[in-house]
Amino acid sequence: MSIIRGEEMVLNIGPQHPSTHGVLRLKVKTDGEIVSEITPVIGYLHRCFEKHCENITYEQVIPYTDRCDYIAAMNNSFGYVIAIEEMMDIHVPERVEYIRVIMAELNRIASHLLALGTNGLDIGAFTPFLYMFRDREYILDLFETVCGARLLYNYMWVGGLSHDLPVGFVEAAYKFLDNFEPQIDEYNNLLMYNKIFVERTADVGVLPADVAINYGVSGPNLRGSGVKWDLRKNEPYSIYDRFEFDIPVGEGIMGSVGDCWDRYWVRIQEMRESVKIVRQALKQLPSEGDIHEAIPRKIRPPKGSIYKRTESPRGDLGYYIVSDGKPKPFRVKMRSPAFTAMSVLDEISRGWMLSDVLAILGSLDIVLGEIDR
């Protein structure tokens, strides 16, 4: 019997496709149903972030950082403002630090909810998506009371915040957390331990730890591969060293370490940790303090450059900022975690079925705005 070789076919997914999370094009080479190579074509959402930064002042950059990663806007501007603060040697009041942490962690929960919901959606589970969006709306409500915007906040400023917490925020936040925590178990029942979901994700798209590090993958994707690495613990910035929380890592409960299911599981556990952090921060939040106190009148960092990275919901978010002492940045480069996660897609989806590619893509949690910038 002769060996029958299938013909290679190039399949084009996107740029408009319901499960590419935006505008991404994948050139997939397949042999029958088996994927042999993927070439991601990006840039369909290139919005010239870095060019804008060179033409506007330091404070005007903040709204653009929000728009880069529109799912976790707070975390993105957080990274930028603490980079500038470090350059200018500004120390912000305690209250500001706490509020920032609260906002960043709430946004992390919201971001993970969206990531998990759409991950389920990609592989055909529609209902969990609705549940997760329901809870995400409550977080957006909280943000709305604080700064008036639902999605893009422009809330963190260099040296302070745009608004103080409104009256009743702390109670509302506690109420949200109390309601939210039991919901996590509901998601688990709905999706995580669902037989179909497990079959689709366990042992699929395994990302070994050394490959992940070599590709610069970070955040939940790296932790899913069993590497205990979290900048909040390993390189504490802001006041993260004051809180107690764990770093969940993938353990291969359903399959092997580093599969899609592990990445999903890490996100779920991270939401629990974020809830813990928010609770501690709410408890320690100082009641006094002027949030506008440390805002400088002129933002002109001294000549020099800085590379500062923080832990955004998607991983190490770095800003490389070059200042020439003028009111406009000389160069701002954003090192986005989704960019590196995207580059590993080819490596880990070879040999899988076409339908698994979408499960893998969903589990990497990419945001195109941040990849293309």
Partner: protein
């Protein structure tokens, strides 16, 4: 370990690779581009250095006639230290050895720098434009870039009244 110590170590290993700065303004290591691939491999594999994660590659156009810089931020996850490496390249016909085989993430970072500055990375497996369309002209992040008026018949600058 900080930049200076690493620079000394590199100087003894690879004589002539480090550009000595007269008055160092910033905390970084300046390298020449010719031995860069060997230096990079050494940085990754030396047990005292172990820079296992390449965080970022940034191109910087210093304006006017100055050379452009390619800046590498290297971090070590196991030893928790970091350095910054800068390699100047000429503005006309800028080339630099590629390090994408040493850190695989360099692949995409280098393509992005190529896309924005037109710096060619020699030895890169697939150096194409990444974010902009393939037939786009010019290097947008160079300081002297001028926005094209049209692209495939579409108006680029704002013209509406």
């Amino acid at each position: 370990m900080i930049n200076e110590q690493v620079a000394q170590k590199l100087e003894t290993q690879f004589p002539g690779a480090v550009i000595v700065q007269e008055e160092p303004v910033e905390d970084c290591i300046m390298l020449t581009s010719d031995q860069w691939q060997d230096v990079a491999k050494f940085l990754r594999d030396d047990p005292e250095l172990k820079f296992d994660s390449l965080q970022c590659i940034t191109g910087v156009d210093l304006g006017d006639e100055n050379p452009m810089d390619v800046r590498y931020n290297l971090h070590s996850m196991s030893l928790l230290h970091k350095i910054e490496i800068r390699i100047p390249v000429k503005k006309d016909n800028p080339t630099i050895p590629s390090i994408e085989k040493i850190w695989r993430i360099g692949d995409w970072f280098e393509r992005e720098v190529y896309d924005m500055y037109g710096i060619r990375f020699e030895g890169h497996r697939d150096l194409r434009r990444m974010l902009l369309p393939e037939d786009w002209e010019g290097w947008p992040l160079r300081k002297d870039y001028e926005t094209p008026q049209t692209y495939h018949g579409m108006v680029v600058p704002k013209v509406k009244s």
